[in-house]
């Protein structure tokens, strides 16, 4: 086994997902199969190979820090499950 139910539970917590006992079992076996498969990458010697973050040899697209057009507060809040004046509301964080 590459991964145990205990590991999967930990990852679910990191990913903010709740898995019940049945889900946990299925998820563990499917993740185990997938991790077993991707192990094949270890057949390749990648010492000295530069990692590639994306497909275009380009980094840091800078622009001037200028105020541009934006959608405005009303638009930004239109899909909020809960809002209050110009803010998003969330469940209480600090007791």
């Amino acid at each position: 086994m590459k991964i145990t139910e205990k590991d999967v539970k930990h990852v679910a917590r990191l990913a903010r997902l709740h898995l019940d006992a049945a889900d946990l079992k299925v998820m563990t076996s499917q993740m185990d199969a997938m991790l077993g498969y991707v192990d094949k990458l270890n057949e390749l010697d990648t010492d000295g190979v530069e990692p590639m973050a994306h497909a275009v040899p380009m980094s840091n697209a800078f622009r001037d820090d200028e105020v541009g057009a934006s959608i405005g507060i009303e638009r930004a809040l239109q899909n909020a499950p809960e809002s209050d004046e110009s803010c998003f509301r969330v469940p209480k964080v600090i007791e």
Binding site: I3, D7, V8, V11, A12, L14, A15, R16, L17, H18, L19, M27, Q30, M31, A33, M34, L35, Y37, V38, K40, L41, N42, E43, L44, T46, V49, E50, P51, M52, A53, H54, A55, V56, M58, A61, R63, I71, R75, A76, Q78, N79, A80, P81, E82, F88, V90, P91, K92, V93
Partner: protein, 485 residues
């Protein structure tokens, strides 16, 4: 002539000649959708009132002599594009009630050229899937055989064009999501070079791989759609600021003297014999058209599925962190505080495939595993890209199958996610390498299912690739067949 038989060029001519108004055309389109979509389920949202209002305006534009590339022509887009004041669900329950507060750049460009956006197309949830079975809006049915999948994730985008519901659509392609459904539905689908089309306002899946691509009924219409959406956008810092050619201009340049490579790793034992036969015949057609065919090697092909899924899942787990029930989407709040709200919202809102990918991606990025999985995959990605760059020193284009089999039956692969992932083997490497590629019809199986051919072009050489596809289309009649829907 029936609405579903018209091309974009036909529509343009009729609109310009005054033989047809945009309102008539849009009505015919909406009727065609109504008549067929209970069978196909290609649309998630149809914008009837908005499109008829836009059609009236288009008719005035045409009367005033202001004809853009798509003025008055009804098109549709995958439900992954933010579309002002229209619901954008991305095939997910978690965005069921989300209404876009702005237009994606690709949508704005369609509107600039006068297109009528008649609706939003079905897709695998968050573009994760190869069959369009992972949609909160239900599976899409293949117009050629409604018991079969249309492919995915842009299944709705391909099925809608194949069935003549709309003349052209936009999809997105992260690992083959435009090309594979185009192949399974017998239409033309193109994945531009990474950076060619702006992704601003496109719901992100795997940011280093995602690209917007057009789907159409023929190569010329596909080239026209690419003309509309291609180009640098300051709002997308990964779009590339380099000149965009007119893709329609030299379409009939032909392939005489072009060198086309056949990567030997793509012609493997597992390939369906009917696919092999169709692709072999296509190779012969190209030879007769004057191309030089040579065998080449992309030695790291066999590692691309593993490399792709690690990278795509890692990036997805990060991109999908934003669906937390705070700023948009459906919140589930059991009263257990903020973390409890996050967990319940995400657990109720995401489907199984999306959860599986978030989990694997989170694991691959987690402390202690990052180097072994994500970093390793990024290094292998470099090797895969180098394979392509090296081969492109020798040849102009690569020719390959799109998928190892024709469209499979709905439900056939749902219990075996890994098997489904492996079916993306021929489309994934180009996303990793960042080159352009396209799929177009090259035959049919004995059961009457379409078979697609893939051409892979050099980065930013979409024009050369389209010319080669056009030459094939002119020499054959595969795209003349239409499904009975």
């Amino acid at each position: 002539m029936k609405f579903q038989d018209l091309t974009i060029q036909d529509m343009r001519q009729k609109l310009l000649a005054g033989d047809l108004s945009s309102v008539e055309l849009t009505r015919a389109c909406l009727e065609r959708i109504k008549a067929t979509d209970s069978t196909l389920n290609a649309f998630i949202t149809v914008c009837e009132d908005e499109s008829l209002a836009a059609a009236e305006q288009a008719d005035q534009q045409i009367a005033a002599g202001n004809m853009g590339l798509l003025t008055g022509i009804p098109v549709a887009v995958k439900d992954i594009f933010n579309t002002l004041d229209v619901r954008t669900t991305c095939g997910s329950k978690i965005l069921d009630n989300y209404v876009s507060p702005y237009d994606a750049t690709a949508i704005a460009k369609l509107r600039e050229q006068g297109a009528i956006i008649v609706g939003k197309l079905n897709m695998d949830e968050f573009a994760m899937g190869s069959s369009n079975e992972n949609s909160a809006a239900g599976a899409v049915h293949n117009p050629w055989d409604t018991e079969r999948v249309p492919g995915g994730s842009s299944g709705g985008s391909a099925a809608a064009v194949a069935a003549g519901q709309v003349v052209a659509t936009l999809g997105t392609d992260t690992g083959g999501s435009v090309r594979q459904p185009a192949s399974h539905c017998g239409v033309v689908g193109l994945k531009p070079t990474y950076g060619r089309v702006s992704r601003y306002g496109v719901v992100a899946f795997a940011s280093s791989l995602d690209q917007v691509g057009p789907v159409a009924g023929n190569v010329e219409d596909c080239a026209l759609m690419l003309n509309v959406v291609a180009g640098y956008d300051p709002a997308d810092s990964t779009s590339v600021d380099c000149p965009v050619p007119d893709y329609l201009k030299n379409l009939n340049a032909g392939v005489t003297g072009k060198k086309i490579g056949l990567p030997k790793e793509y012609f493997i034992d597992g390939l369906d014999p009917e696919i092999k036969q169709a692709v072999d015949a296509a190779i012969e057609t190209y030879r007769q058209l004057g191309a030089e065919i040579v065998e080449v090697s992309l030695p790291h092909t066999d590692y691309s599925v593993a490399c792709y899924y690690l990278i795509a899942m890692a990036e997805a787990s990060s991109n999908l962190a934003r669906y937390d029930g705070v700023r948009f989407g459906k919140r589930q709040d059991p009263g257990e505080g903020l973390i409890g709200m996050y967990q319940q919202t995400r657990s109720a809102g995401f489907g199984d495939e999306v959860k599986r990918r978030i989990m694997l991606g989170t694991y691959a990025l987690s402390s202690g595993y990052y180097d072994a999985y994500y970093l390793k995959a990024q290094k292998v990605r470099t090797l895969i890209r180098q394979d392509f760059l090296k081969v492109f020193e020798e040849v102009d284009l690569l020719l390959t199958p799109v998928a190892p089999t024709p469209a499979f039956k709905i439900g056939e692969m749902v219990d075996d996610p890994l098997q489904m992932y492996l079916s993306d083997i021929f489309t994934i490497p180009t996303n990793l390498a960042g080159t352009c590629a396209m799929s177009f019809p090259c035959g049919f199986s004995e059961r009457g299912l379409p078979i697609g051919l893939q051409l892979i072009g050099q980065p930013f050489a979409e024009d050369e690739m389209l010319q080669a596809a056009y030459a094939f289309e002119q020499a054959t009649d595969w795209n003349q067949r239409v499904p009975e829907v």
